[in-house]
């Protein structure tokens, strides 16, 4: 007896060992060696882990572009012009470094001739290059926006507008610039809370663009009822937060970010040409504000809500926002679904310590890290590329073509609800309601699940009701026949 048990135990141990060894072989192959964990939020706002959608491809600093450049000193903005050149605003060195995709130095803009006099920048903070090749520079401490042509020749200047309402000691310190395809200039100015300053093609001030709601604070309003004038003077003013980053999408709409103190409101706006927010978010539980679950206080800078400081508009309605607190990049689609999150805070390759700007370089995403003065380039993995592909096809209205990508996505990441819902939606369009119900339920797409359910219910009823009515009519007929039979029988008996 003892021997048999021993034998079984040995066999079992051998099997376990084999499985462990096999797993040991498989795991390193599956695991992508990224220093960060990809994740997303599901229908209930719960965090679910996901594969990495983007992985670090390379990183480079000033010396790797050209050894004579030295290093970047507090760089503050990054821009990729329509011709594929990378512009880096090197704030601390008062210069703008231009490199191409292969990291060849194109030129260094450190000033310009205005009326024959050499003018230098003083702590520039933002740059924008139009389709015509005109270069707009936010020359912050000089309180001006010089506009240069492609060769660096001075064209004209935007200065502080002469408008009423600005305070006496007001300094026009532009931080960030955007020029739309109509030539309108949008400028985020330091300590201007009315909105983004808007200039027309001639550089004249037109008005403020976009407003940030402060929200009603009922408790505060209640307490203010009991305050004396002196107490009221001592209270903080409710001023909106400042705009942080801007990006122009393919429809000439402006994406903006602003920091919300509690992280439960959207931090991203999509402003139409009239300055109204038209950002779409179909989720009730997940707002477009980066992390939904975070440590509220404690442990230095890694706690608290995300602070989205820069944004890029991507093709097909997608956009990626950069979080200053944890260095993460959040990508959303045109319906406000969080698609993937990558990167993070740290010193490893693929992490940033003080990210300040984000841009697209072809399909890749580049991030400027001011702490190390280097630029990181991320490239999509198979997973990330599949999501981008599926979202693009859905955005074009081609749900059927997207199904293949969704199916492959479910094989890679079973928790990706959008993929299940995507398959379900196409099945619904094909008319396979019962299968659609399964997939839509898995994807928690309740709107379409309800439609599929109603159609399926109708189908079932259409199958069942004829039988029910036939049998029912037959039974009623039999009953009537029986009654007639009994009446007739009684009459016969009476007669």
């Amino acid at each position: 007896m003892q021997g048999r048990y021993y034998k079984i135990t040995k066999k079992f141990a051998a099997i376990v060992l084999a499985i462990v060894l096999a797993a040991g072989w498989v795991i390193p192959v599956l695991a992508e060696s990224t220093p960060f964990q990809g994740y997303s939020y599901n229908f209930w706002g719960t965090l679910v882990p996901a594969p990495a959608a983007y992985v670090p491809l390379r990183s480079f600093n000033a010396a790797e572009i050209d050894p004579e450049l030295g290093g970047f000193n507090n760089p503050s903005d990054l821009h990729v012009c329509p011709f594929g050149y990378i512009y880096i605003v090197d704030t601390g060195n008062n210069r703008i470094v231009v490199a191409d995709e292969e990291l060849n130095l194109q030129r260094v803009i450190s000033g310009f001739y205005m009326d024959g006099v050499w003018q230098e920048f003083d702590r520039p903070n933002g740059i924008f290059v139009t389709w015509d090749g005109d270069i707009y520079i936010a020359d912050t401490l000089n309180e001006r926006i010089p506009i240069l042509d492609w060769d660096g020749n001075f064209i004209r200047m935007i200065r502080e507008p002469q408008v009423e309402g600005l305070e006496d000691g007001f300094a026009f310190r532009p931080l960030s610039i955007l020029v739309d395809r109509g030539g309108r200039v949008y400028v985020i100015v330091q300590h201007v809370f009315e909105g983004i300053m808007n200039f027309n093609v001639e550089g004249e001030f037109v008005g403020y663009f976009g407003t940030i709601e402060t929200g009603r604070q009922w408790l505060e309003i209640f307490w203010r009822l009991f305050m004396t004038d002196r107490q009221l003077q001592g209270q903080n003013r409710f001023i909106p937060t400042e705009f942080q980053g801007m990006a122009l999408d393919q429809y000439n709409f402006v994406f903006t970010t602003n920091i919300e103190p509690w992280g439960n409101n959207n931090q991203v706006m999509r402003l139409n040409p009239r300055g109204q927010d038209v950002l779409l978010n179909l989720n009730d539980t997940v707002s477009i504000s980066g992390d939904q679950r975070f440590r509220v206080v404690g442990f230095g800078q890694l706690s608290g809500p995300s602070q989205l400081i820069d944004i890029i508009a991507r093709p097909y309605g997608m956009f990626t926002a950069l979080d200053r607190v944890r260095g993460r990049l959040y990508t959303y689609d045109s319906e406000g679904n969080l698609l993937y999150v990558f990167s993070g805070w740290g010193s490893l390759e693929g992490m940033t310590r003080r990210p300040v700007a984000v841009e697209m370089l072809g399909d890749d995403i580049i991030v400027l890290d001011a702490h190390f003065g280097r630029i990181l380039q991320f490239t999509p993995t198979e997973y990330g590329a599949l999501i981008n592909e599926a979202i693009a096809m859905r955005y074009r209205g081609d749900e059927a073509a997207a199904v293949d990508a969704w199916r492959r996505l479910t094989a890679l990441d079973e928790n990706f609800q959008l993929a299940w819902a995507g398959i379900g939606r196409s099945l619904l369009a094909e008319g396979d309601n019962q299968a659609a119900m399964y997939y839509l339920h898995r994807g928690m797409d309740m709107v379409h699940y309800s439609i599929a359910f109603r159609r399926h219910r109708l189908e079932v009823l259409q199958g069942v009701l004829p039988t029910v009515f036939t049998v029912g009519t037959g039974l009623v007929g039999l009953l009537i026949a029986y009654k007639i039979f009994r009446v007739v029988k009684r009459r016969v008996a009476e007669a």
């Binding site: 229908f43 209930w44 339920h441 309740m446 709107v447 309800s450 359910f453 219910r457």
Partner: protein, 210 residues
């Protein structure tokens, strides 16, 4: 057959309370027709219908996370609520000339649960046939059951304590205050106990490390 008949004979009082609340509750307390056994049975039925609703309601009327649906938690919460309300009401009404004993209060609440039981299960079954535009029927049915339950509890308290409507309303409001006090005291007790435990544990650790 006779067992079934006897059961329905026993269950006649909860049914009667539904249609004739005042006479029914009067019979329950003053004519000695109410039994604690049946009250617990009714409460068990309510627990069962809550469990059924929790587990089988359509995703379109209840889209909570599947892991959040826990029948044990349901029963514990329901028991705690009934106990808490009964204790609070008893402590208030014994100060305000209420005639009801603790047993009567629990019995009145449990006997009043019949409409909730009778609507919850059908509503849950109906919910599985509804699309999201039609969920109003489900919520209407559930709402009616809930409203009638609250009404019956109120009538039950009036009858059991031999109160007028205004006094009953006031004692119910006071009951909620009492509930808050009880919960506060319980929390206080828990934290104090935890601190005491922590103190004893650290003393124990110190001694063992010597």
């Amino acid at each position: 057959m006779s067992a079934v008949k006897r059961f329905f004979g026993l269950y006649a009082l909860p049914m009667r309370i539904m249609v004739q609340p005042f006479a029914g509750f009067y019979a329950m307390k003053f004519e000695g027709q109410g039994t604690m056994k049946l009250a617990f049975f009714n409460f068990a039925l309510l627990c069962l219908s809550f469990m059924y609703n929790n587990q089988y309601a359509s995703i379109l009327v209840d889209d909570s996370h599947p892991l959040m649906r826990n029948s044990v938690v349901d029963v514990v919460v329901l028991t705690a609520m009934v106990l808490l309300f009964s204790v609070a009401n008893w402590s208030v009404t014994s100060l305000t000339d209420g005639e009801g004993r603790f047993k009567d209060i629990v019995m009145a609440i449990c006997y009043a649960m019949t409409p909730l039981i009778l609507t919850m299960i059908p509503a849950t079954i109906i919910s599985t046939f509804l699309s999201s535009d039609e969920t109003g029927f489900y919520f209407l049915l559930m709402g009616v059951g809930m409203f009638y339950f609250i009404l019956l509890v109120f009538v039950g308290l009036i009858t059991v304590h031999n109160y007028g409507a205004v006094k009953a309303l006031l004692t119910v409001l006071l009951t909620f205050v009492a509930i808050l006090i009880i919960v506060f005291l319980l929390t206080l007790l828990l934290t104090l106990w935890q601190q005491l435990y922590g103190f004893i544990y650290s003393v124990y650790l110190e001694i063992t490390f010597r």
